[in-house]
Amino acid sequence: MRPRRGLAILLGPPMLWLVVVYLGALAVIFATAFWTTDPFTNLVVRTFTLENFRELLTPTYLGIIGRTLLIAVLVTVLCMVVAIPFAFFMARVAPRRLRGLLLAAVLVPLWASYLVKAYAWRTMLQPDGVIDSTFGATPGFGLAAVVLTLTYLWLPYMVLPVYAAFERLPESHLEASADLGGRPWTTFRRVVLPALLPAVAAGSVFTFSLSLGDYIAVQIVGGKLQVLGTAVLQNITLDLPFAAALGTASVVIMVLYLLAVRRTGALDNL
């Protein structure tokens, strides 16, 4: 009997936290999305309505959802394009001493404040900023700036799992492939890529979800760009139920994405 009680005491508080604070908050958001507001005072009125979800399916908001998805996908793809060769170099080519240094170089930016990094990009992207004076042009504030900034911010989350996957990949597999007549490209496609896929999927969970929910970097470098996060922010003061409905949309997208990723087996590796 005693070990059971011990287990209950050990698991009780975290479970309570998970159910009440974490899932409870989500449930409250869902419930709020079915309420409406008083047109004058903007107070939440607890009468049931589906109006918020109906409005979510109008072109304006489908446009915002589409734009946010596009940003998340672009950031994820860019992170992959940068992270895979870099992680390969780190794990397979670089000498052991350099490896630690490179790993530190990837991790160090994570210690700097998110805001500092976002504002640094604002300064770099502005007219006469570093990018303008170096390349003679700047994308300015907008979609491109947001994708660039978010790619920079979330890159370590992609590099780390991919690096780990490359490191785990046994040399003997590559040799066996070569012995059996596989050219480098075939080896990459048939041996390396399948081993890498779960790691890339795991990394993409971070880059995708973090991009999907971001609204601060968007405010700093996005100019007049409107995404799901900023739309929630804009509505949260005036129309809380609609903000909740928008929040629900991003939760739904994330759940669908996680289900898709689970099929690759990536979640077993997390």
């Binding site: 449930a27 869902f30 004058f40 939440v44 979800f53 304006t60 915002i64 007049k224 005036l238 739904v252």
Partner: protein
């Protein structure tokens, strides 16, 4: 994509079912909104009593204020009218600033703040929702010296009961980079019809209330619309303002509500022209940005702010002494000069560092302020007195603004 959209709808359905269950679970809760009817004359207000006498100071006061209204030296050591008050009154002042009236209303609802400097587009919402209570003006000795033109106005009193103490007033101005915008603009056309001249460099205020700025511009440029009051727009008039703002959006670089971000944008030239407050122009100039702010010939929207006391406040004595301090001649003069507005206290005019401040900001010039349209909450009963049409309320403005921002 098609399948994912389908399954999205399916999931929404499931979520809906879950939420209905959740709702049934807390079905015992009753609607919490008090009356909140939109009729201006017969606005239902919660029955709250003003404080009848001051007690002992509670030790602190939590203040919600526009940036620049309550400075304790943390932004600029030379700008400080709070520290001395803290010592003499025994009330520690905790300051939180906000960027829009909507944010102020939202923060005030948390019940964590004792007093707020609310503009006219927030005051009635706070009163109707029971977030603020009437104030006992006899407990504010400096109330006697406040300009009569500011007392007991539709935005700071209801049915003859005062709900706040006037703070000061001013106009939203047009700011521009003197080196990049030539010739110097004297009309709001520079950010509307002729905004193309500064394509991608225009800024606008990020709040539904900015629709009034477009409406004000249309009052002179499109008299056939018949707009009499930029806060009383019928469907057609609102649509015209929305179209103007959608056209403007093509030339916008950023919308602002954080004043420091606007200062930075003007400093680095990513924004060259747009609406502003005097304090922003002052800060930008002090940081060596070549900017100028003018009142365009069409007039402007503006504000007349009110200090209000939270109904949930536990520090009312400190809140009252704090408000009295803020509207005292010396402090009111300091704020008026720092923020760039007309003070509310008559005697403040004698205390300003620049003896001409009250003249420059037209503190006693009612003719001037008749051209300034103070921020007000649009409601379905037309504020300009028309009874043959229904006007658009703030909820409609909010939807319209979201549409503009997302177009």
């Amino acid at each position: 994509m098609r399948t994912s959209k389908k399954s999205l709808r399916g999931t929404v359905g499931t979520v809906a079912a879950v939420a209905v269950l959740a709702l049934a679970g807390c079905g015992s809760s009753t609607p919490s909104t008090p009356g909140g009817s939109a009729a201006p004359g017969g606005m239902q207000v919660p029955d709250l009593k003003a404080l009848d006498k001051l007690g002992t100071p509670e030790g602190q006061v939590n203040v919600l204020a526009w940036p620049g209204y309550v400075e304790d030296g943390s932004n600029d050591p030379k700008v400080d009218w709070v520290s001395d008050f803290e010592k003499s009154s025994g009330c520690t002042v905790n300051i939180k600033t906000f960027g829009t009236s909507d944010e102020a209303v939202q923060l005030m609802r948390t019940g964590q703040y004792d007093t707020v400097s609310a503009s006219g587009d927030a005051t009635l919402r706070l009163i109707a929702a029971g977030d603020v209570e009437p104030v006992n003006t006899s407990l504010i000795p400096n109330y006697a010296d406040i300009f009569d033109a500011l007392k007991m106005k539709p935005w700071n009193s209801v049915n003859g009961v005062a709900y706040g103490i006037p703070h000061g007033r001013g106009a939203n101005l047009l700011m521009y980079r003197t080196d990049m915008v030539k010739p110097a603009p004297d009309s709001w056309a520079a950010v509307f019809d002729q905004a193309g001249a500064q394509k991608g460099k225009v800024t606008a205020y990020d709040s539904p209330i900015y629709i009034a700025d477009a409406a004000l511009y249309l009052m002179t440029t499109k008299p056939e619309l018949g707009i009499k009051d930029p806060y009383a727009l019928d469907e057609t008039q609102l649509a015209a303002a929305v179209d103007l703002l959608k056209a403007q959006k093509a030339n916008i670089s950023e919308y602002w509500s954080d004043y420091l971000k606007e200062v930075q944008a003007f400093k680095n030239g990513s924004t060259t022209i747009g609406t502003t407050w005097q304090v922003i122009a002052n800060v930008a100039q002090s940081e060596k940005a070549p900017v100028e702010a003018v009142l365009p010939k069409e007039g402007a929207t503006g504000w007349s702010d009110t200090w209000m006391v939270s109904a949930k406040s536990k520090n009312k004595t400190c809140a009252y002494t704090f408000i009295d301090h803020i509207v005292s001649p010396k402090v009111n003069a300091q704020i008026a000069e720092y923020f760039g507005e007309a003070p509310a206290n008559k005697k403040a005019c004698a205390e300003t560092a620049d003896p001409n401040h009250c003249k420059v900001f037209h503190a006693e010039d009612e003719a001037y302020f008749s051209k300034v349209r103070y921020w007000n909450t649009p409601i379905s009963a037309c504020l300009d007195g028309r009874t043959d049409v229904k006007c658009t309320d703030y909820a409609t403005w909010t939807k319209a603004w979201t549409e503009i921002r997302n177009s």
